[in-house]
Structures are given as C-alpha cells and as structure tokens.
C-alpha cells in the first residue's frame, strides 16, 4: 500500500468508531470498548508504519509525503484538502498515537469496565463507589471523535483542514469537560473553556482570512516553503502598529495558540477543565489538544521568524511570543506551588511547560520547542494518568472507609469510634493532596511511574527526557535573550519545587485521612499505560542528546535535531553548546527537588502547608491564582451579564423591541376595529341584510295573494287578462 494512502487512512478509524458507538453501541460498554480501542489501535498501527516510513525517507523535509484532492470549488479557485507528513508531523503523529492509545486503554479501567452498574449512580455524575460509568459508551465516542480531530490536525496539509481539526477538538473538549454535567462546576468549566478558547480562535480565523486574501492559498507547502511568498508577506505593510503583514498574521495565528495552549491571558480555562474525567485531562489538556497550539506555531515557524536570522535581535512578533511564553512559564509555576488539588497542580504545570515551548519558538529555537513538545506530551500524560490512578484509589478508599463505618455488617463491624468520623468522610476531597500521604506503599506501581513522570517534569538530570528537552530550551535562550533565560530558569526551579511538593505530599509520609489509609492499587489495565508512558518519559530524551554534551555527548547520535530540523527550508544551525545553561539547569532542577522533598517529605495529619506559613499573604495571592479569575469576572463576565440582562434583555428587548411590536399590534388592532365598524358592519353587512330583508318583506307582502283558492286565482287571471286585452285593444293602437 502506498504510504500516502495509508496516511489518508490514519484519522478515519476513530471517526468510524465514533459513528458506530453513537448510533448503535452506546448501550453496551463491551462493544463500545472494542470499537473505540480497536479503532484507535488501527490508527496507532498505521501511524507507526507511516512514522517508520518517514524516518527512513531521504530528504523528508524537502519532499514530504503529500497528497491532496480538490474539495471545495470557490469561484475560480479550488480549496484542496490533503495530507502532509514532514518531520514535524511525523514526530507529532508519533507521540499522539502513543499517548492516545495509552489513554484509551487507561480509560477502560478508569470507567470501571466490567463492574456492575451501581443503582445509586446517575448519568452525568461520576460513579461514586466503583460501579461502571453510567455513560460509558458516550465517553468512548467522545474520546474517539477527539482522536480523529487531533489526527486530522496533525496530518493536514493546509490551514483550513487544520482549523477544522482544531475546532473538532474544541467541541470535544467542551463535551468532555462537561462529561459529568450533573456537577454545576463541570457545567461552568465547560462553558468557560469553550468561550475562552473561542477568543483565541476568532483571532486565528482572522489570521487565516488575511493569509488567504494575500497569498490565495492555505497550503503549508506553498506558503512556508516558498521564500518569495514569505518575503512578499514580510515586505507588505499591514497598517497596524507598524507590523509587516507577516508579523500581523503571525500574531493573529499566535492568538489561536494562546487560547488553545492556555497561555496568559487566556490560561484561565485549563485549570477549570480538570472537572472532566482524568483521562480527558490527560488527553486533551496535557498530551494532545494543548499541543495543537504549539504545533501550529511550530508549523508556522518560517512565517513567524521571517526576516530574522540566528544571532540577530528578535523581531517584534518573536518578542511578543517569547515574552508571553516566558511570562506564562513563570506565572503558572508560581501558582502551581500553592495549589492543593493534585490535578490543578498538574494543570498549572502544563500551562507553565507550554509557556516554555512558546518561549522557545519565540526565541527561534525550533528544534528545542518540538523536542520539549514530544517529551512533555509523554510525561504529562503519564502524570495525569498517574494522578487519575491516585484519585481512583482515594475514591475507593473513601468508599471503603465510609462503608466500614456506616454498615456494621456481621463479622465486619467497624470500631465504634469510626462511626463518629463517618460524618467527616463525605466531605473528604479525594483530589486534595492534604488528604493523601503515604500512598507509596498502597500504590507502588502508581508511585514509581508517577515518580518517573515527576522527575521528567522537574528535569532530573541525565536520566529523564524532560532534562534534555528543557536543557535545550535553556541553552537556546541563554544565547539569545537573557531575560527570557532568567524567567525560564526561575520557572524551572519552581517546577522542580512543586513537583517534589506534589510527590512528597501524595506518596510520602503517613496517610492523612481514612481514605488514604484504605486506598488501594488500581487495576492492571490502568497501570499498563502508566508503565508504557514512563518508558517513553525516559527514553524519548535519548533521541536528542546534544553531541557536545560532556562525557555522554556523541554516544547516541542527535537524531532528533537532524530529523526535525529538516522540516525547515533553511536548515538551522544546531544550538551552540554552552556550560552556564547546563549548570543552571542542574542547579535549579536538583535544588528545587531537594528543597521540596525536604519540606514536604513528612507532612503530619491536619498540617497546614509550610509555605503558607512562610510566605503569608503572598501565598494567599498564589493560592487564589493572582485573582485573575476574579478580575475577569469583574471586568468581562459581570459586565457581559449586565449587558445581557439589563441592556439587551430588560431594555432593548423588553422595552424597545417589544414596545415597537406592541405598538404595531395596537395600531393594527385599532385599524381593524375601525374597518370592522365602518366597512364590514355598515356596508358589507348592511348590504347583505338589505337584500335578505327586502326579499323577506316582499315575500311577506305578496304571500296574501297565495290563498290556495282556485276561484280567486281565476278571478285574478280574468282581471289581468281583461286589463291586458283592454290595453292591447284600446291603448296600443
């Protein structure tokens, strides 16, 4: 089979699975699982075959696998859809199929496949005692549609198809965040996520329109591989803030990334998106969807950096991008330090790591950004799935401990003292890290895999993938822009700190709640993806070791750099190796980890966070996420509600529009009454009545002569005959 045909086929099995589940299989968990996981596995196989072919191909960047068909004729133009696999798509495809497959398999266990349905569970609420998820089929259908969107986006050869995949994922994100729609917080989070990303998407659409109106094409290859087009874009003034057209379009597309990849100031939706089931958090909000934003700016790297050469000062567009990225990286990591919800910490760490990648693109480090994109997808998916396993274990522990206390079953009667504690159990938040502790012994598999993911996130030296990719970004920043470097280094320190804090609070010390005491390890079907992802979290880094790295540099060829750099027309110089960023990287990573571990290693039961004691009001500020949500509520949301309720509804709608309508209605009624009174009743009815009345009167008048007497008729006949005769004989002649 030709490779291009295979590429066309990659996104289709999940779409088919979505259709099948929605139409026929949504009542059967067994069939849903088979169809969804089978579809994803098929995509995975195709994806890996294509990846292998791409790796084996010579000059893939200049001659990518591409094929397209005409799709939408528009006047004289034809919009084409097609597929493109160049080095960038290939590596993205690689991590997308792996993480998606891992998440699909994990979801089987997470949704309690094979367990009996708990009669107390309601659709739209999480199963609370280990019963099978009530909307099991729907969950897998949405996951499949999501995978279809992501694969479409990655394999697309033009911006339009990419945008379609982008929006499909936006929809799936909305549906899956609100999957437990019985919770009000989930409903709010889904709307928030949808609307916040929409802000970025509108700008992105403007960018697409501007690009199309100037170049007449949306194909990546025609725009980004053609120096003429890029130079023409760079030379044309946009008339906005003195930017060139290339700069403006770049910033508009970047706005899409800001929304999708949750960069400041549109980052607020991502932490709230943790209301969804944990596999969703892993898939959409760590591995795949937020990566799409980074993929977009990596894809448009030639456009964003047009006119810039390594060693020169950054252009305005690049400055904006790197500033947003670096600021977001630090900003989000400070918030993550003060969060207690295990998933929220990871959410802010995702924002922060995405900020790293954005900053890397902003300073022109294409390969480093792509590298971090890949490694981050693996270890962040691992961390999210691990946290899901922890939460699952805690929920089981919660159910077990309340059952022990509530029902004194024969032979299993709990101690009398526990029933008093039972009232408190219902309010135990299974996601709050203050309620955890000591899970290392209860959940060893989860612990070790989570540890690997956490160390990768913190950039633990040499062993983990995160170290290599983060180090590469730091060294690129070191040579280019000092402020960005400082911000990113600080963010890396905080990253190590909150990672150690999270692992310490969750797994070390002694259990701080009955739920943690009763927690138990998850099922093998959930653990297998964790093991798989932890392998990648370590091994993915070996593909990109800098060849000048002390001691081990050069042992393994820097394959990643060579392969991915081929995606650019102008092959960039490999970043020069320098010692200071490496030392910085080592110090912040190890320092942060050690500090965090020392503080949070054994937090006693009922303790407050030590950081809260030391930082005081600053900690409050961090815990409340700099009050950005409150600021948006005051500046945007409440005015919008006011605008909607008071201005649009009460004033415009009720007063103006309704007033006009009621006025018109009253006018018409008045005209109708007048017409009825003067035309209908008087003239039409009068005429009708007149005809009828006259006929009736005439009949009444003439009926007296109808006497029924033959002789009277004869007499009358005689009379008239006589009169007629007289007239004819006497008068007429």
């Amino acid at each position: 089979m030709p490779t291009t045909l295979l590429i066309w086929l990659i996104p289709l099995p999940p779409l088919l699975a979505f259709g099948l589940i929605v139409l026929w299989a949504n009542r059967s968990p067994r069939v849903s699982t088979a169809v969804a996981v089978g579809g994803m596995a098929l995509s995975w196989v195709f994806g890996l075959v294509v990846f292998a072919a791409a790796v084996g191909a010579e000059h893939l960047g200049a001659e990518p696998f591409a094929s397209s068909i005409p799709w939408l004729p528009l006047g004289t133009e034809v919009l084409r859809i097609g597929i493109l696999v160049d080095p960038l798509s290939a590596i993205t495809l690689f991590f997308v199929v792996w993480t998606c497959l891992a998440i699909f398999v994990y979801s089987i266990g997470y949704s309690n496949f094979g367990k009996a349905r708990d009669p107390q569970d309601r659709p739209g609420l999480p199963p609370h005692a280990g019963g099978v998820e009530p909307l099991y089929g729907r969950f897998f259908a949405f996951l499949s549609l999501f995978a279809f969107g992501m694969l479409t986006l990655v394999l697309s050869d033009n911006l339009l198809l990419l945008f379609i995949g982008w929006e499909i994922m936006g929809l799936c994100s909305y549906l899956l965040i609100g999957f437990w729609f019985g919770k009000e917080s989930a409903r709010k989070a889904m709307v928030k996520a949808f609307i916040t990303t929409r802000v970025g998407d509108v700008f992105m659409l403007l960018g697409i329109a501007a690009l199309y109106s100037f170049t007449g094409t949306l194909s990546f290859h025609e725009i980004l591989r053609s120096p003429d087009t890029l130079n023409a874009l760079a030379a044309a003034p946009s008339g906005v803030l003195g930017l060139s057209l290339a700069g403006l379009i770049g910033l508009l597309l970047f706005a899409g990334t800001v929304g999708k990849s949750a960069q400041f100031p549109l980052h607020v939706w991502l932490p709230d998106a943790m209301e969804g089931p944990t596999p969703v958090s892993a898939m959409i909000h760590a591995a795949a969807m937020v990566s799409a934003g980074i993929y977009l700016i990596l894809r448009f790297f030639p456009l964003l950096t047009v006119g810039w050469h390594p060693g020169e000062p950054l252009t305005t567009t690049m400055l904006v991008i790197s500033a947003v990225g670096a600021f977001t990286a630090l900003f989000a990591s400070t918030i993550a330090v003060a969060q207690n919800d295990i998933k929220r910490v990871l959410a802010y760490s995702t924002i922060s790591q995405l900020g790293y990648m954005v900053a890397a693109v902003g300073i022109g480090a294409f390969v480093a950004a792509a590298f971090h994109l890949v490694t981050h997808a693996f270890f962040k998916a691992l961390l999210f799935l691990g946290s899901g396993s922890v939460i699952h274990g805690m929920e089981h522990g919660l159910a077990a401990s309340s059952k022990n206390a509530a029902q004194a079953m024969p032979g299993q009667g709990g101690p009398a003292g526990q029933s008093g504690a039972h009232a408190g159990h219902d309010h135990v938040d299974p996601q709050d890290m203050l309620n955890m502790g000591g899970l290392r012994r209860k959940m060893p598999w989860t612990f070790w895999t989570f540890l690997i993911g956490g160390l990768a996130l913190a950039g633990f030296p040499i062993v983990t993938a995160g170290f290599w990719s983060k180090d590469e970004i730091l060294s690129a920043a070191f040579g280019t822009h000092t402020l960005v470097f400082v911000l990113l280094a600080l963010a890396a320190l905080l990253t190590a700190l909150y990672t150690a804090r999270q692992i310490g609070m969750t797994f070390f010390g002694s259990p701080r709640s009955p739920a943690a005491e009763h927690a138990h390890e998850s099922r093998p079907v959930m653990l297998a993806p964790l093991v798989l992802l932890s392998v990648f979290s370590i091994a993915a880094g070996w593909a990109g070791i800098h060849h000048e790295f002390p001691v081990i540099g050069g042992w393994i060829p820097n394959w990643f750099e060579e392969f991915v750099a081929g995606a650019l027309a102008a092959h960039p110089e490999a970043t020069a190796f320098a010692l200071p960023p490496l030392l910085t990287s080592l110090v912040v990573s190890l320092g942060g980890l050690t500090l965090g571990f020392l503080i949070y290693r054994r937090l006693p039961r009922g303790a407050v966070d030590p950081l809260a004691r030391w930082l005081g009001p600053v900690h409050t500020l961090l815990r409340n996420k700099y009050y950005v949500d409150e600021l948006y509520a005051a500046v945007v949301v409440r005015p919008a509600y006011w605008f909607g309720e008071t201005f649009v509804y009460a004033w415009t709608d009720r007063k103006v529009i309704d007033g006009v309508l009621h006025g018109a209605a009253r006018l018409v009624l008045a005209v109708g009454a007048w017409l009825r009174h003067w035309i209908d009743l008087l003239i039409v009815n009068g005429f009708g009545d007149l005809v009828g009345g006259a006929t009736k009167g005439a009949g009444r008048m003439f009926r007296v002569i109808q006497s029924g007497r033959v002789q009277a008729y004869l007499a009358a006949g005689l009379l008239f005959a006589g009169l007629m005769l007289s007239y004819m004989l006497l008068v007429r002649p």
Binding site: R703, Q706, S707, G708, R709, V710, Q711, L714, A715, L718
Partner: protein, 102 residues
Amino acid sequence: MIPLSWYLLLAAALFCIGLYGVLGRRNAVAVLMGIELMLNAVNINLVAFWRYLTPTVIAGQAFAIIVFAVAASEAAVGLALIISIYRQRSTVIAEDIDLMKW
C-alpha cells in the same frame, strides 16, 4: 239569414253564464260544468266565424273538433281529481280545497 252578431251575442251570453258558474259556484263539479259552458261558447264563436268569414277553409271546424276533444279529456281528468279529493277530504267545495297556500 241570421246575422253573425246574434251568434256572437249568444256565445258571449253563454260564456258569461259559464264564467259566473266558474267564479260563483262553490261546488267543484259545478265549476267544471261552468268551464264546459265557456268552452262551448268558444266553439260557437269558432263555428260562426268559420261559416260567415272563411267558409272555404276547414280550419274553423277542425279547431272546434280539437276543442271538443280537449274539453272531453279535461272533464275526465277534472272529475277524477275531484273524486280523488272527495275521497281524501270528504268535500267537493272549491273554497275548502286550499291546501296550496302559504
């Protein structure tokens, strides 16, 4: 020869007697008889006009014959009606037979 006007006067007298019988008598049978008188008055006129004015043409006599035939059939139908009404209503008084009024 007896002048034509005598015949006409006789016919007019006969017609008036018949008319009086039709309008003035209450008995339906008598009314029918009045009608016969009027028809015969007309016959006298027809025959008289034929004899005095157009004796060469047979039309006057033929017309008189037709009037006889009509008078005979009219009498037959009229009497049958009167008998039928009598059976229904036990009366032959023309004033009482006033079903066909409003």
